[in-house]
Amino acid sequence: MEYEAVIGLEVHAQLLTDSKIFCGCSTKFGGEPNTQTCPVCLGMPGVLPVLNRKVVEYALRTAVALNCAIAEKSVFARKNYFYPDLPKGYQISMFERPLAEHGWIELELAGGKKRIGITRIHMEEDAGKLVHSGEFARADYSYVDLNRTGVPLMEIVSEPDLRAPEEAAEYMRQLRSILVYLGVCDGNMQEGSLRCDANVSVMPKGSTKFGTRAELKNMNSFRNVQRALEYEIVRQKKVIESGGEVIQETRLWDDEMGKTGGMRGKEDAHDYRYLPDPDLIPLKVDEDWIGQIRQSLPELPGRKKGRFVLQYNIPEYDAGVLTQDQGLAEYFEAVIKAGAASKWASNWMMGELMRELNEQNKSAGDCPVKPEELAGLYRLIEKGAISSKIAKNVFLEMFRNGKSAEQVVREQGLTQVSDDSVIRKMIEEAIAENPKQLAEYLSGKDKMSGFFVGQVMKKSQGKANPQMVNQILAEALKKLKEGK
């Protein structure tokens, strides 16, 4: 039987505030254990949490960008459970009355556009960290660091609208791109500032009744989200086909083993006994506030992409690549403003520039070749001073040593040879030096002309103007053939 997967994602994004959600402790990553705590985030008796306004603003920005209906009134709730990373015995979250609901995000998939529903967005506090590694790997205790307790998180829950692991990965890419554009999250999955859990089930293709789902955790990259889902879908199909039943459980992705496994000894079924948190008064968001937020939003990747296609006349694919990262998009527009042709700029950036940036793990913002300098390289090619091939080497030199295109060309004597007589001379030499190949050409092997082009380029160390070489060589060979 053919099966279809049903996937919904729960994403936790750490919000880029300086202080925690309910107290003034720093959110800075990597501090000495337990140096960023206070009575509020330690859950001491008698303290009162007070909501960080910026957390609400960031969550609202996201809610507006994801086309959500924002609740006029929302309420924080206590989610009760005992675990040592949570000193109060409950996590402050939202339950019955989240900040926003009913949004959507549009994906561009191979088969066309697809809208994925956003069920809800709410704010909550992060829990602390249990350390079992390093010197504590074999200890009989867990070591608790509460620096992260109270760091603001935003949870974004999707509808079960995703039907394949690639769709889930694309959803994550789109969502990440939007969050980074909005400036609300740094989007770093490796460091855990963007986390993703997935609910996945399988059902016979065409069915409308979802199967029993498993919840997958511990996937810290786009690739792992996709791999974990791929593995889990195959696993569930096998269970069903062998007459078994999928059980509802939480499974952890093991990156090294490349598989998911059930979490052992997971205590009782979750019974969180949510209740409205009496310490925090309700949050009211009026139309004015939403209007201000709407005004302050940047141009988001989807819209920017559409504009790039129209304004710069580049293919959709190129526009998609260039707008996925805000810095890259800004760089592109700066290169064009500095005088480069859009198609050239987009090709060059997607090829040479992005390769070098990726290799050096740099972002467009700290690219050693500034947009104006890249446009300078374009001008040299445009006026025929260097060939495109040589330009690639010039670019590498610019990237590595921070020199301008003109400087590299001057220092290395790379200026293109466009002198008719010089090129003619090199062609004559090439023909004279290779009588065997000439004979082959004259006996009808037209392809041999390519060999002579190669010879001339070699002689000129790549500097001969290729168009001129082609043209003059064709004439010379033609003459020889006719004179035969």
């Binding site: 202080s19 140096t35 705590t37 009575p39 960080n52 306004r53 675990y83 040592p84 009989d140 070591y143």
Partner: protein
Amino acid sequence: MKISRKEVEYVAHLARLKLSEDEADKFTAQMGQILSYFEKLTELNTEGIEPTSHSVPMVNAFREDLVKPSLLVEDALANAPDKEGNFFKVPKIIE
């Protein structure tokens, strides 16, 4: 009975409370009485009334996003039943 002994034991477990046999019996009876008492409220007509989550009619108390000094580690750990170095120390938890 409004609540079974089993439910009382379940709730006690969620709250990590250990009840003796006698206590479980006693609390089952007491909680049953409390629930019966609260049941009176259902006699009221609450049609069209929004559930009350807070008794004070107030909304939106914010703080600005400013970092304030945290506690010294010694102070943060001062009341911990067990600690080591900068850490709180608890019985091993395996996820």
